[in-house]
């Protein structure tokens, strides 16, 4: 790890703008950013953008309990290949991360991984939505994001107590999976024109809206922080926009799939397109895109959710929800929003790195690229096109909705704490 190298010939992009510069790294620190820098080891940055390492607020790594789908190691490798230097693992493992002991176990496994692995903790014991989990003990263990993700905390009283209790834990945030369980029970796709035609029980968009509306009210009343996971409806985005204008302490993330795919994809009957919250119609996709562009949606998060083929290769209704995301997220956003001229790369850096690092309280990530900062970087060829081949992904699972799609933007190198963990698109460990 104690080495010196230079990323040569790239254009550095962070919140301070874009400039042509080499980046000299020694040990785990950026020591100099400037032109004509030299070092014994060089990484080729020509034709590339050098970005702060990406931060994923929302990744299901499945360990412990479902190592047949993903492990912390394989998930972290997928993350590194996707340009991520940090991620927050979701707590819906078996057993769930609802105690400091299990959080410590996950963090321990993450220490060897080629990505900085953090874990979220459950809000309630067993993620059952009834009794508060020991949030303080998990906070002491380093947990900052609390969520029952996969499940919505439906009980208003429990949610109120969680938000209030977390006020005493500096940097802690309560994150909600916004789908009213009573309204989505038995549903497998967005309720609307397509579900009606296909005869598939639906999960209505207003199931998200009612929870977002309620939790905004709870955040306003308590003064606490709430983060909305994978926001997916235009109405929910608009409510968050108004709440933020009012000063309510809410943040939101959106996934690449909700920014780019519609519920029409379910007509293929391919369970790769089954996800919760479900893919929505064009009007919602537009609303989420607008929210991401104007900052109402703070962050892009993957909701990377691996499932083994034997579980996904079933009839639509019987397959579990979820799709892979870590290796494709940046490319999807570059393809859909940057290459089309809707978003610039500085905004990409804010949504993929600065904002998620701030929301999760990760002080070594989401930093500007300048001397003295931690060397967590990714180097991206934004013009490279590639076709997604599920078999070629580093994730243990294959359930990508982007199979066969041509995407623009490919990660060339990823630098984690000064160590090149991905070089020329290949994972080093």
């Amino acid at each position: 790890m104690s080495q010196e190298f230079v990323i040569r010939g790239g254009r550095v992009v962070d919140a301070e703008g874009e400039r042509t510069a080499d980046v000299l790294i020694r040990n785990d620190v950026v020591v100099e950013v400037g032109v004509g820098l030299a070092a014994p080891v060089e990484l080729d940055g020509s034709g590339c953008l050098v970005l702060p390492g990406l931060v994923d607020l929302h990744a299901h790594l499945r360990e412990p309990g479902h190592e047949e789908a993903e492990t912390i190691e394989t998930g972290a490798r997928a993350a590194a290949l996707g340009g991520y230097t940090a991620l927050v693992a979701m707590p819906n493992t078996e057993p769930p991360v609802d105690s400091a002991a299990i959080a410590g176990h996950v963090l321990g496994l993450g220490r060897e991984a080629p990505c900085d692995v953090h874990t979220a903790g459950a809000i309630t014991v067993g993620r059952h939505g009834e009794t508060l989990a020991p949030l303080g003990e998990m906070w002491e263990a380093g947990v900052r994001v609390f969520t029952d993700d996969g499940n919505c905390v439906a009980d208003s009283r429990v949610m109120r107590r969680a938000i209030e209790y977390a006020l005493a834990l500096p940097g802690a945030v309560v994150a909600q999976h916004c789908e009213d369980p009573a309204l989505v029970e038995g549903g497998h796709m967005h309720e609307g024109a397509w579900s009606s035609r296909l005869g598939v029980p639906g999960r209505p968009g207003f199931a998200e809206d009612v929870i977002v509306a309620r939790d905004i009210a709870l955040a306003r009343a308590t003064g606490g922080r709430v983060h909305f996971l994978h926001i997916s409806t235009a109405a929910a985005v608009e409510m968050v926009r108004q709440a933020k204008a009012e000063g309510v302490r809410v943040t939101a993330e959106a996934t690449p799939h909700h920014l780019a795919l519609t519920d029409e994809m379910c007509a293929t009957w391919d369970p790769a397109f089954k996800v919760n919250p479900p893919l929505r119609p064009e009007t919602d996709v537009d609303g989420v895109r607008r929210g991401l562009l104007d900052g109402t949606v703070d962050a892009v998060a993957t909701d990377h959710a691996p499932h083994p083929p034997e579980e996904k290769d079933q009839p639509f209704a019987e397959a579990p929800p979820g799709m892979l995301g870590l290796e494709t997220a940046l490319a999807v956003v570059i393809t859909e929003l940057v290459a089309t001229g809707l978003m610039d790369m500085e905004t990409v850096v804010r949504r993929f790195s600065f904002a998620p690092a701030a929301i999760a309280g990760l002080s070594r990530h989401g930093r500007p690229i300048r001397a003295g900062e931690p060397a967590n970087l990714c180097v991206v060829d934004v013009d490279a096109t590639w076709e997604v081949d599920p078999v070629g992904l580093a994730s243990r699972a294959r359930n990508t909705p982007w199979a066969g799609r041509k995407l623009t933007g490919r990660v060339r190198h990823t630098i984690l704490e000064g160590e090149p963990v991905v070089v020329d698109g290949e994972a080093r460990r």
């Binding site: 309720e191 024109a193 005869g199 209505p204």
Partner: protein, 310 residues
């Protein structure tokens, strides 16, 4: 045609072709020796993940009258109870040498998945709340025989749980493709959440449109939709349903004499249909069943016989 997965995949020419072929086979089924050698040496497997008597018997009868061999797979006696996946089951059945698989499954789209996994032709015999194409062909065929050759402009009212009904979805597509006018009649909770793109109108009061209908098509009411327990509840009581949407003896008596009454079966007598209507002269219920064999012969023949793309 390689598969019959839904009416949504058919065009008008294919639909007319199937109905014309069914007319020919209806004549065959009425012969003294009601059997032709068209599919001798071919094997048709029925793969039923849901209980069914009439559809399965109808398909197997159709296959036998075409001299095809039949295999039957039913969930209760199968390795599904041992945890085998649909994909493995489909591959296993195909490996036994079948040319067509007739698939019924409680999950919408399951036959479409099977069609991706196997080389055999796949016929959808009902997938969840999605489609039941052969039922719609039977109904269109039956209606055509009474009002045909064209059913253009015939006003069909489909009454009942449209929301969960694969029969309704396939019939809306088939009947409107043939030019019929379709009105859906149900309480709002039993209508699909969206009718965007459906070439139909919808009302929630049967008596408002009853006098304007040429055909009253009643759907079976599933008892688990009733009552206030759990997410299935969509209307308060069977009695209230019958009073507002049932074809009661009183409503049947008000129908014009030329109005036809249809039901895909099995019927809940006294709920969606009174026995006076089910057994009355306007009822086509038995004829629908009788036509089922001829229509399914036509489907098998088109997919596997000289009418197919073999």
């Amino acid at each position: 045609m390689k598969h019959l997965l839904g009416i949504a995949d058919l065009d008008r020419t294919e639909l007319d072709g199937l109905l014309d072929t069914a007319s020919h086979f209806l004549e065959v089924t009425q012969r003294e020796i009601a059997k032709v050698p068209a599919l001798r040496g071919r094997t048709v497997a029925s793969v039923f993940y849901e209980d069914s008597t009439r559809t399965r018997l109808s398909f197997e009868g159709a296959a036998k009258r075409l001299s095809a061999d039949t295999l039957t797979f039913s969930m209760s006696t199968s390795s599904v109870s041992k945890g085998e996946s649909l994909r493995d089951t489909a591959k296993t059945i195909e490996a036994m040498g079948v040319d067509a698989m007739v698939v019924r499954h409680s999950s919408a789209g399951a036959p479409h998945r099977v069609a991706n996994w196997v080389e055999a032709s796949v016929i959808n015999a009902g997938d969840g709340g999605h489609e039941h194409p052969t039922q719609a062909l039977v109904d269109a065929f039956t209606l055509r025989n009474h009002r045909g050759p064209s059913i253009d402009g015939v006003h069909v009212g489909i009454v009942g749980d449209i929301r969960h009904s694969r029969v309704a979805r396939s019939n809306v597509l088939a009947l409107t493709m043939l030019g019929a006018r379709v009105t859906l009649i149900a309480p709002p909770t039993l209508l699909p959440p969206s009718l965007d793109g459906w070439p139909v109108s919808a009302v929630s009061n049967l008596d408002d449109v009853l006098g304007d209908l040429d055909v009253v098509y009643l759907l079976r009411i599933q008892r688990e939709r009733v009552g206030g327990r759990g997410p299935g509840e969509l209307f308060p009581t069977l009695r209230e349903y019958t009073a507002r949407f049932g074809l009661t003896a009183e409503r049947a008596a008000r129908l014009r004499p030329d109005v036809l009454v249809m039901h895909p079966g099995p019927m809940n007598r006294g709920v969606e249909i009174a026995h006076e209507a089910a057994d009355g002269p306007a009822s086509l219920v038995t004829e629908q069943v009788a036509n089922g064999v001829a229509v399914r012969m036509a489907v098998l023949y088109r997919l596997l016989g000289a009418g197919g793309e073999e």
